[in-house]
């Protein structure tokens, strides 16, 4: 029995970290549905390099928790094939920076088999990948390339920022009829715990979350950046009386345009925070969407607080590359003071 699940017996909820909630989510879905299989590099006996699949091999066996050869295109291509037989593959890419060999399979086929076949074929599959910086990792281990996948029609892209959402969004992704790129913010894998129900539940893939209500400015973010955005909001509330609304997008594709624009109509100001490079990051899409939908409400230029248009540096400089609370606060103040 899963070490996480075993503690659930007789309880309604447990205090889990985000990565434990992923493990618990996989355990829950695999228990409910025999067609769900996990495959990838080191996901079996080793339980995943971040322990996201810990104990699943012991619980469900080698035919459902599968250590594969080291080949990302093979893992994703095989998963597309598995999905054609009624199975629900949940392949893991060990790090987002190592996904690129699978890119062809993802964009040429996973994303398009439905439209190519006019709905006759589809690819229900969830590709999990840890992403983002801040963990002092070697090169290629800190990428945030969500925009590559958001840009590709036919894919859904999800990124949780809390343990509760991680389990619920993962369940919704596994139940979804279309391929989902499920991006896990590894910086906050173990940052904090919260109550996570033992029972199955879903968090909708079509709703952003308002993490903090406010009236002066809307801050849009997701994943690991949600935390510094909330810290910045609290700091500014206390130091400058600025009332910041923080929106956690949760699902990056398709965007919840309604929540995004409703918030902006209320505040008239926006800052978008992401780790990815600024140019053609998701911030560009959000800013344009706001202007299309709510231009008349706009009171200040929309601010993007993002990574540099440069490769992620090695770890001695990553704190300068990533949006920190100080950068977020400064950007919010500039926008509010405009």
């Amino acid at each position: 029995m899963s070490s996480t699940a075993s503690t659930q017996t007789g309880q309604n909820a447990q205090r889990l970290t985000l990565v434990e909630a992923i493990q618990d989510g996989l355990y829950t879905e695999m228990s409910r549905d025999d067609s769900v299989v996990v495959l990838g590099e080191d996901v079996g006996k080793n339980g995943g390099v971040f322990r996201a699949t810990d104990q699943l091999y012991e619980e469900f066996g080698e035919d459902r928790v599968i250590d594969t050869p080291l080949a990302e295109a093979g893992i994703v291509g095989a998963s597309i094939g598995l999905a054609q037989t009624g199975m629900k593959p949940v392949p893991e890419m060990q790090f987002m920076g190592f996904m690129y060999p699978a890119f062809d399979q993802i964009v040429s086929h996973a994303a398009r088999l439905r439209s190519r076949s006019q709905g006759q074929y589809s690819v229900p599959m969830v590709i999990r990948a840890p992403y983002g910086g801040g963990i002092r990792a070697p090169e290629h281990h800190s990428e945030s390339k969500e925009a590559f996948f958001v840009h590709e029609p036919g894919l859904k892209v999800v990124s949780p920022s809390t343990p509760y959402d991680a389990k619920g969004l993962l369940a919704a992704s596994i139940h979804d009829p279309d391929p989902v790129i499920f991006l896990e913010p590894k910086l906050i894998y173990r940052a904090f715990r919260e109550d996570v129900p033992a029972k199955p539940y879903e968090v909708s893939l079509s709703e952003a979350a308002v993490r903090r209500e406010g009236s002066d400015i809307s801050v849009y973010t997701w994943g690991a950046m949600t935390r510094p955005a909330l810290i910045a909001a609290e700091n500014l509330s206390q130091s400058h009386g600025i009332d910041v609304e923080v929106i956690d997008l949760r699902t990056l594709s398709p965007l919840d345009v309604e929540t995004i624009t409703n918030s902006f109509k209320k505040t008239g100001r926006a800052a978008i925070v992401h780790e990815a490079p600024k140019t053609v990051g998701l911030g560009a899409e959000i800013a344009t969407t706001i202007q299309e939908e709510a231009l008349v409400h706009q009171e200040a230029p929309i601010k993007r607080i993002a990574g540099f248009d440069a490769p992620m540096p090695l770890h001695s400089l990553e704190d300068y590359y990533l949006p920190q609370a100080v950068r977020i606060q400064d950007g919010i103040r500039e926008t509010v003071d405009f």
Partner: protein
């Protein structure tokens, strides 16, 4: 897998059984095997081989310890693999090129990189990847197998320009043979007959996945057949055997005989004595007894015994070498700890010239650094 050797006293890993097609010079203790031919190598070169392997072992132990002390970030240990790394690099001519992965610390050092530059990326500085013009080593490859087609391309470029006196030696692991880039690189190498030697450091484990799970082939060397090139299996814990095989492959890359193709795939049969990296715990997925059988064939002990047997090494010289190695490694870490860089470095070298938009991003960062202070940027994000 549990076949006993003739003495019947120890398990010999099946992959290095002496009755297989494996090239070996030394037995498990370091004595020359009957019928084995020792490579043509001077006493001075033998001592260089020994000293470099000893240095590599010490570097590895210190690096693991520095990582635990927080002086280095994630490190990929090479214990058990140093002999093959050093032997392949010492087989190179100075003009030859080396394509290393993240584990080939000793191979890089033995082909001219200094220890400081090995430490710098592990401390978060790219300075160590700015490899001097006179050292023919590419910055390490971390995405698996991506170096294989590139090494082929460099060898091809040399050949197209008539420089077939320059060979390219490309390292890869057993896991890398599962990636598409491995196939594409070796296929091109055969089709275009380039002066390249591909060394697969088959250490039996790709993190937690055993060699048997990478391929249904009996050996990795036999994959060479499919590309029409030579494949050789060598005892990767036998530095003299590796030197012999690598030298021959490099010579063939430069000057193939009639009907011979230049490229070779060498399967250097090894064992990863330690963890995949300092972030990994092998006790979760493999049996420690497996390691013991390989420890009996430790490359450091084998080359040491050989040199003692030959009268090239004695205890005085051994301790003199050890002292000098320890000093070299401790000086290198101290120097590496002086390396500093400015946050401006984030925007530098992305292109030859910094685009205006990136200059603006740098200026904005520096405005914030002045307005607040650098400490504000090192607050923990989580």
């Amino acid at each position: 897998m549990n076949m006993k050797n003739e003495a019947g006293s120890k398990d010999v890993p099946a992959a290095v059984r002496e009755d297989s097609d494996l090239v070996q010079v030394l037995d498990a203790e370091g004595n020359v095997l009957p019928q084995a031919s020792v490579p043509d190598i001077s006493d001075r070169q033998l001592l260089e081989l020994y000293e470099t392997i000893k240095l590599a072992r010490h570097f590895d132990q210190r690096a693991i310890s520095f990582q635990r002390q927080g002086r280095l970030a994630t490190y990929a240990p090479m214990t058990g693999q140093e002999g093959s790394q050093v032997a392949t690099s010492l087989a190179l001519a100075e003009q030859d090129w080396l394509f290393p992965t993240y584990r080939e610390h000793a191979a890089k050092y033995a082909h001219g990189m200094d220890l400081v530059s090995l430490f710098e990326p592990l401390r978060g500085y790219r300075d160590g990847y700015a490899i001097p013009d006179d050292v023919n080593v590419m910055p390490e490859y971390i995405p698996i197998a991506t170096q294989v087609p590139q090494a082929m391309g460099m060898a091809w470029g040399h050949k197209l320009q008539g420089k077939t006196d320059t060979a390219v030696l490309c390292h890869l692991g057993d896991g890398a043979t599962s990636e598409g880039d491995f196939h594409e690189g070796l296929n091109f190498a055969g089709v275009f007959d380039v002066p390249a030697v591909f060394v697969c450091n088959n250490n039996q484990w790709a993190i937690s996945v055993p060699r048997e799970r990478q391929t249904a082939s009996e050996t990795i060397a036999e994959k060479a057949q499919a590309y029409g090139i030579d494949g050789v299996r060598v005892d990767g814990l036998d530095p003299l055997a590796v030197y012999k095989v690598a030298s021959a492959a490099l010579e063939k890359a430069r000057n193939p005989g009639p009907g011979e193709l230049r490229p070779t795939l060498i399967e250097s049969v090894q064992y990863r004595f330690g963890a995949h990296t300092t972030a990994d715990d092998p006790s979760v997925y493999r049996d420690e007894s497996e390691e013991e059988a390989w420890r009996d064939r430790d490359p450091v002990d084998r080359i040491e015994t050989y040199l003692y047997n030959e009268g090239i090494l004695d205890s005085d010289l051994e301790s003199e070498i050890q002292d000098s190695i320890e000093q070299e490694v401790s000086e290198a870490i101290e120097t590496a700890e002086q390396t500093e860089t400015s946050p401006d470095n984030i925007v530098e070298h992305v292109y030859e010239d910094v685009p205006a938009r990136l200059e603006e991003q740098r200026d904005e960062l520096n405005r914030l650094r002045e307005k607040y202070d650098d400490g504000a940027f090192s607050e923990v994000l989580e």
